[in-house]
């Protein structure tokens, strides 16, 4: 029998094998890094697109839920991808094992690499204590060099994970027009809110503003109207007070969530610049049948009609002083009385005052003033006298509280907050008794104006 083991392979042969295994390792690791990058980018891109799309198309709470879920899923997926990619990395021995498996080399490469690493010397074939069959193994392996070329072991240079990446980019491009349109339009609202709204005070559902609302609301009106609004708020609060006490914590949490989601949504969708001021005109009379009979959720009048509202209101204001008591009460008077009574009990007011005002003055005319007019005439003008045409009207005919009034509320469109929810935040009630020395509001008798001064006064008001 011939030996054939006497000749030892040159060091270059072992080096060629190890070099080829190194090339396989580089290629496999390159694919692993591509997998990591492409997969992570794909996840980030698709999750960002979905979050942006949700920001411009969903309400705050839904955006918070959907966005949170998407972000959580994306984080978990990225962690999974990183962990998987980290495990897919191969060292030299693992690369040899991969080559053995794919080229069906039955562990030849892995054995050579392991022997080299164990001895930490490259020319192990030349050592005296080298395994006797190692030269044969090297020759045998080198004879199969064609079978473990890097191109045959791993033919791909680009990872297959590029397809999910390209898919995510394509999907993002598809969503981009929708997102851009949403950014231009701002965050979604339940319905378009007109800038000028005229509503009856009895029709108005009042509640305090949400703590998360950053709209600077300002109500300017006379003291009597403010009392009327407070009474109505107290009455509304009394109806739903019990439920709110039990769900107060949940409301706070929901409000906080809405606040956070709304801010985030505005940042993402650029909603800050889309806010519009709303002029809310309140009337406390039911004579405007069109507005009173309109359901609360009915569509609001169109813009042209709204533009005519102040003029119409002025016209009605000029015609109605004498007819105010004849206007029918649109709302159920009994319910109004009961609401008012409960409100009195809460606010500490005398029932007599309130009931007298409510029962006797419910037929009061509505009067509207624009915000500018309101600021010019002040809260004590009582309607008559502010207009130069009626500056010298008959004194003593007007009754305080029976006059129509208009308050202008500077408000912003709200897409977050408790408007769409069933529960609203109510601040704690503070009951402040009236001062003992405070006299009830009474109309001041109009004094007669000397004829010499009338021209000068009229000139001032006309200015």
């Amino acid at each position: 029998m011939s030996s054939g083991l006497k000749s030892r392979p040159a060091d270059g042969k072992l080096g060629r094998i190890l070099g080829r295994v190194g090339s396989i390792r580089v290629r496999v690791n390159s694919l692993v890094w591509q997998y990591l990058l492409f997969s992570c980018f794909a996840l980030v891109i698709i999750s960002t697109a979905v979050v942006l799309f949700a920001a411009v198309s969903l309400s705050p709470l839904r955006f918070l839920a959907a966005g949170g879920a998407v972000v959580c899923i994306a984080i978990v997926a990225v962690l999974y991808v990183v962990q998987r990619g980290w495990r897919m990395r191969v060292n030299l021995r693992q690369a040899a094992a991969v080559a053995d498996e794919r080229a069906n080399l039955k562990g030849r490469l892995e054995t050579i690499v392991e022997l080299r690493q164990r001895r930490n010397v490259v020319p192990i074939a030349g050592e005296d204590d080298a395994p006797l069959l190692l030269p044969y193994l090297i020759e045998d392996t080198l004879a199969r060099a064609d079978e473990f070329e890097p191109d045959r072991i791993e033919s791909r240079r680009i990872s297959k994970s590029i397809w999910p990446f390209l898919g995510s980019v394509a999907l993002s491009l598809l969503l981009a027009p929708l997102i851009m349109r949403g950014i231009r339009n701002g965050p979604p609202s339940a319905e378009p809110v007109p800038s000028d709204i005229t509503m009856s005070l009895n029709e108005l559902h009042l509640r305090p503003a949400d703590p998360g609302s950053d709209a600077d609301m300002e109500v300017q009106t006379d003291a009597g109207t403010m009392r009327r609004i407070e009474q109505k708020m107290a009455a509304d609060a009394g109806q739903t007070g019990q439920g709110r006490e039990t769900s107060g914590n949940m409301d706070k949490m929901l409000d906080s969530a809405r606040e956070f989601a709304g801010k985030l949504q505005r940042k993402l969708a650029g909603g800050e610049k889309q806010k519009a001021l709303i002029n809310l005109k309140l009337t406390d009379a039911a004579e405007d049948q069109n507005s009173l009979d309109r359901p609360r959720n009915a569509p609001l009048p169109d813009a042209n009609h709204r533009e005519d509202e102040p003029a119409r209101f002025k016209r009605e204001q000029g015609n109605q002083p004498g007819d105010s008591n004849q206007l029918p009460l649109a709302h159920n008077q009994e319910s109004s009385n009961s609401d008012a009574a409960s409100a009195d009990a809460q606010t500490g007011m005398h029932p007599g005052e309130n009931s007298g005002r409510d029962s006797g003055d419910v037929s009061a005319k509505d009067s509207t003033l624009s915000a500018n007019e309101q600021s010019g005439s002040g809260g004590s003008s009582h309607g008559i006298g502010a207009d130069p045409d009626t500056l010298f009207g008959p004194g003593g005919n007007s009754k305080l509280g029976n006059q129509g009034f208009e308050i202008a509320i500077e408000a912003r469109q709200m897409t977050e907050g408790a408007r769409s929810a069933g529960h609203a935040y109510l601040p704690p009630k503070v009951r402040t008794p009236l001062s003992q020395t405070q006299a009830p509001d009474e109309p001041i008798a109009r004094a007669s104006i000397p004829a010499d001064d009338r021209a000068a006064i009229k000139k001032v008001f006309e200015r």
């Binding site: 083991l5 094992a97 193994l137 045998d140």
Partner: protein, 347 residues
Amino acid sequence: MSDNALEMPTVGDFARVFRHVQAQIHKVIIGHEQAIEELLIAFFGGGHVLIEGVPGTGKTTLVKTLGLALNLSFNRVQFTVDLMPADITGTRVITTGEDGRREFTFQPGPVFCHVLLGDEINRATPKTQSALLEAMAELQVTAGGRTHQLKPPFFVMATLNPIEMEGTYPLPEAQLDRFLFKVSLAYPDEDQLVRIISATTGPEEAGVEPVFHADEAAAHIEALKRLVRNVIAAPAVEHYAARIVRATQPQNSRFVSSSPRSVHEDAVDRYVAFGSSPRGAQALILGAKVRALLDGRANVAREDIEQIAQSALAHRIMLNYAAHSDAVDATQVIDRVVKSVRAARAA
């Protein structure tokens, strides 16, 4: 490289001799291809074989043919209840010398040969069975206070009859563990049976040509066995074999130490009372080395170990009553173990 390497056959020589011997055996033995290959693997791996088969399946003929093909000395011992250890190992007898003086001299028993067939070894008493232990493990026999070396190669093939268990003595675990492989001989199928009929009932008997000359047979075989030992098993492959052996050991056994890298197989915990000993790992590697040489390789692959696992480990694990109750045998457990270790490696 040492001088022994000059006399060492090549990988190609080994495969050629192996196939030649295999072909000679198949001249006489019809079928049983896998059993014969495992028998030769164990022989060149330096181990002993326990052959289990029903009567008439050619156990004795197989062993006899192997001895003839390798041109090695062959002895056969029929184990019976009244067989004594000295009947196997030999004994001191009084002999008369040339000068007329009488003295005790050692009369070697049938164990002094190259290939020993212990037929129906489970019919002898444990005392007699254990007489083979020293010879199998250490290639020596102690009789009359003197130790006698056996000439290599020494190969023991013991047969077990799985039926007629009355009056038998099951081999102790220690003795079972000393057999490298346990080979099962099943009934031949119809085609094989027809060939057996044709070959054994005709006027001519099939002849076996020895592969080696009688003078150099032992040396050649020893050289081939050295070549087997020189096959390279990478550390990762050795770990693989060790992991398989450890996976056969039940977790709940107090003899098993915990290891974070160990593979747990539920079937082992449920059905195995005692797992394989370290000899099982040796058997795996030795058998895998022979398989690698047969494949023309100088290195052991994991596939070699998986192919040899059944023969090397099945007789080394002791099943519990649950296994007997559920009709689970050792081969099924080994299958599950190999699959679990393979899956753990892939993960």
